[in-house]
């Protein structure tokens, strides 16, 4: 344990002293995230889409609908209740108003009438704007039609499970997945190969320390770095782009750890198979680059041709990106992403076994 923690401590020191490594691990991912976020993530002017289910059809309800329609930033879509609420769940509506039958009568008779508003809270800011806008308009109608705004109340309900992804919600976990992949793959494969070339591995071999403890410290270092990268990216993502991080911290950490271990194993395998540190680096690049572009981590692959989808599903990064997204944004539990976890663990184990099988001290 003593040797393990020393080794780990110095692995960390060495990495953090490497300015270039720090740049690639922390600054570069932030740059990528900011660029992608600002280029593709800008939502432009806010346009509120409001679904209205008018079961009443009275003058009052008509007046409310007209008032909503008269506002430029609001687009009113009329429809049935089930249909509109389904659209809301798909994040296609900002709110759905349901005006029950008999609402107009009640109000005209001086009784209080109630409108139910289901609101899309996938984006907190927009939800607030929607809520206050709709409430304001309805109050105004109540004022002008029956001089008693308190008669109309809005029963605000939050629609659950809105699949309200914005691009940044998709992209930030994706960038994190790529960054962790690079950390494991590049950092580790090249470092082990360099140590072999320099004869450091041989020197370690003539001491009583075992290979697992020597390499284990490096692997632990990569995992800790991955967690640090996750914290930095998520904090910046949340503060700059309002990425909605809903996940359980423990699950998020587990997903990051499993992914980091998986890609470290891949890097380790490359270092075992490659002849020199240079070829290890080239091989790691050759693996990482296509994976980065084909795994659908920066952009959704929903609309790409089937062949590409099939390829994506064969790449571990696809599963890692998916796991991070589900667990961070979708607030999934580990049970929900079991397939991703199993694929990553299995892939990591196979790589690790090959790495150990072909490991060379010199």
């Amino acid at each position: 344990m003593k040797n393990y923690s020393k080794m780990f401590l110095y692995e960390m020191k060495m990495t953090l002293r490497e300015r270039e490594a720090v740049f690639w691990m922390f600054v570069f991912p932030l740059l990528i995230m900011l660029i992608l976020g600002f280029v593709f993530g800008s939502s432009g002017d806010i346009k509120l889409e409001i679904g209205v289910v008018d079961l009443d059809g009275s003058e009052v309800s008509q007046a409310i609908i007209q008032a909503l329609e008269s506002i430029e930033a609001i687009e009113v879509v009329m429809g049935g209740e089930d249909e509109e609420r389904a659209e809301l769940k798909d994040d296609k509506r900002n709110a759905v108003l349901i005006i029950e039958e008999g609402f107009g009568d009640k109000v005209e008779r001086g009784q209080s009438g109630e409108i139910t508003m289901y609101i899309n809270r996938s984006d907190v800011t927009t939800a607030q704007i929607t809520s206050s806008t709709v409430t304001g308009i309805v109050d105004k109608i109540g004022q002008s039609m029956v001089q008693a705004p308190q008669l109309i109340t809005i029963n605000e309900k939050e629609e659950e499970d809105v699949e309200g992804f914005e691009y940044v919600d998709f992209m930030v976990p994706g960038v994190l997945a790529v960054v962790i992949m690079f950390g494991g793959l590049m950092g580790y494969s090249e470092e082990v190969a360099i140590r072999r070339e320099k004869g450091i591995l041989r020197r370690v071999k003539v001491s009583p320390i075992s290979l697992p403890s020597f390499l284990g410290a490096g692997i632990l270092m990569v995992v800790i770095m991955a967690l640090m990268q996750a914290v930095v990216l998520l904090v910046v993502g949340a503060s700059v782009f309002n990425v909605k991080i809903n996940g359980n911290i423990f699950y998020m950490a587990m997903a990051v750890i499993v992914g980091a271990l998986s890609f470290v194993s891949l890097g380790f395998m490359i270092s075992s198979l490659a002849g020199t540190s240079k070829s290890a680096m080239l091989a790691a690049n050759a693996v990482a680059m296509p994976m980065m572009f084909l795994s659908g981590v920066f952009f959704s692959i929903e609309w790409v041709p089937t062949a590409l989808k099939v390829i994506a599903r064969m790449l571990p990064l696809y599963y890692f990106g998916d796991a991070l997204r589900e667990v961070m944004i979708g607030a999934a539990s580990l049970a929900d992403i079991w397939l991703d976890m199993v694929v990553l663990l299995a892939f990591g184990l196979v790589c690790f076994a090959l790495a150990v099988r072909f490991f060379r001290w010199e």
């Binding site: 003593k2 040797n3 020393k6 080794m7 110095y10 020191k13 060495m14 002293r17 490497e18 320099k198 004869g199 450091i200 041989r202 020197r203 370690v204 071999k205 003539v206 001491s207 009583p208 320390i209």
Partner: protein, 304 residues
């Protein structure tokens, strides 16, 4: 019990007989040198003793323990400086020593090691900023972290300037005072003569001679050695006929003769030169060295 016992050790790489059946005994507390040209098999031999390589056949015992059977116990009681070890560039000297200390159950203190290696003024320097000599001293410090009974130094001074070499020699002499067994490989004659209690001369995977440096020189080249250059080459037969010349070797325009009667031979050389109408130049009479022993045995120089 000898510190190291090697019996009929062999290691072949395909056709190349890197180590071709050697026997050796290193006593505890001695500084034992393995002298030979590059490719003689010194490093391969050492690495088999250090548990780094598996012998094809033969037996190696270190402190009574068999290398194949108790590698871990052996690793704990030996210290190794490999011929080419580059350490972590991004660690400081002190940190590097501290790190290697963590690999062993029982160690000297980091400060003591820095002191032994005379790296006090560089303790907080990055390894990447060390000079060649400092780097070698660091690698010796790392070979001593576990206070080993046997220290292996593989060409500890190769590529160093004379001053840096001296400092390493001082460290090795300090080890002698600590009664450690030191096994050192080198292709520097002076180093072997200066440091080693006993020397094994190795060539082509075999040990061609062994003993104390003085004994070796007495045994193989008790005669005087005269070297000289001639302004113009002279037929070798003429030089061989000079009075007292027992053997002649020639390298470019430099001749070397071995003679039991150095003074007479010296005069005869000038006489010969006069007769041949050439001038003898750069004439030297010297004490024989291990180089001459090597030359005598193999017909080649150690450093070619």
């Amino acid at each position: 019990m000898p510190a190291i016992l090697i019996e009929d050790l062999k290691k072949h790489y395909g056709e190349v007989k890197a180590v071709d059946g050697i026997n050796l005994e290193v006593e505890e507390g001695e500084i034992f040198g393995i002298l030979g040209p590059n490719g003689a098999g010194k490093t391969t031999t050492l690495e088999m003793v250090e548990t780094l390589r598996k012998p094809d056949s033969g037996r190696i015992q270190v402190l009574g323990m068999d290398v194949g059977e108790e590698p871990k116990a052996i690793k704990e009681s030996i210290g190794v400086q490999l011929q080419t070890t580059v350490f972590f560039d991004k660690l400081k000297v002190r940190e590097t020593i501290d790190l290697f200390c963590s690999f062993y159950p029982r160690t000297l203190s980091v400060d003591k090691l820095i002191d032994i290696a005379t790296l006090g003024d560089k303790a907080d320097a990055m390894v990447s900023d060390l000079s060649g000599g400092q780097h070698k001293r660091l690698s010796i410090a790392l070979a001593l972290v576990n206070d080993p009974r046997i220290v292996f130094l593989d060409e500890p001074t190769t590529g160093l300037d004379p001053q840096a070499r001296r400092r390493i020699w001082e460290i090795v002499e300090g080890l002698r005072d600590e009664e450690k067994t030191v096994v050192i490989t080198t292709h520097y004659i002076e180093e072997a003569e200066y440091l080693c209690d006993r020397v094994a001369v190795m060539d082509h995977g075999r040990i061609v001679a062994w003993g104390t440096p003085d004994d070796l020189i007495d045994e193989y080249v008790s005669d005087g050695i005269i070297t000289f250059r001639l302004t113009r080459p002279v037929e070798e037969g003429i030089i061989e006929k000079i009075e007292g010349v027992k053997s002649l070797s020639r390298r470019d325009d430099e001749y070397m003769v071995i003679t039991p009667t150095p003074q007479k031979t010296l005069l005869s050389i000038f006489a010969m030169a006069h007769d041949q109408g050439v001038e003898a130049d750069d004439v030297n009479m010297k004490r024989a060295t291990l180089e001459d022993v090597f030359l005598k045995i193999t017909g080649r120089r150690i450093r070619e």
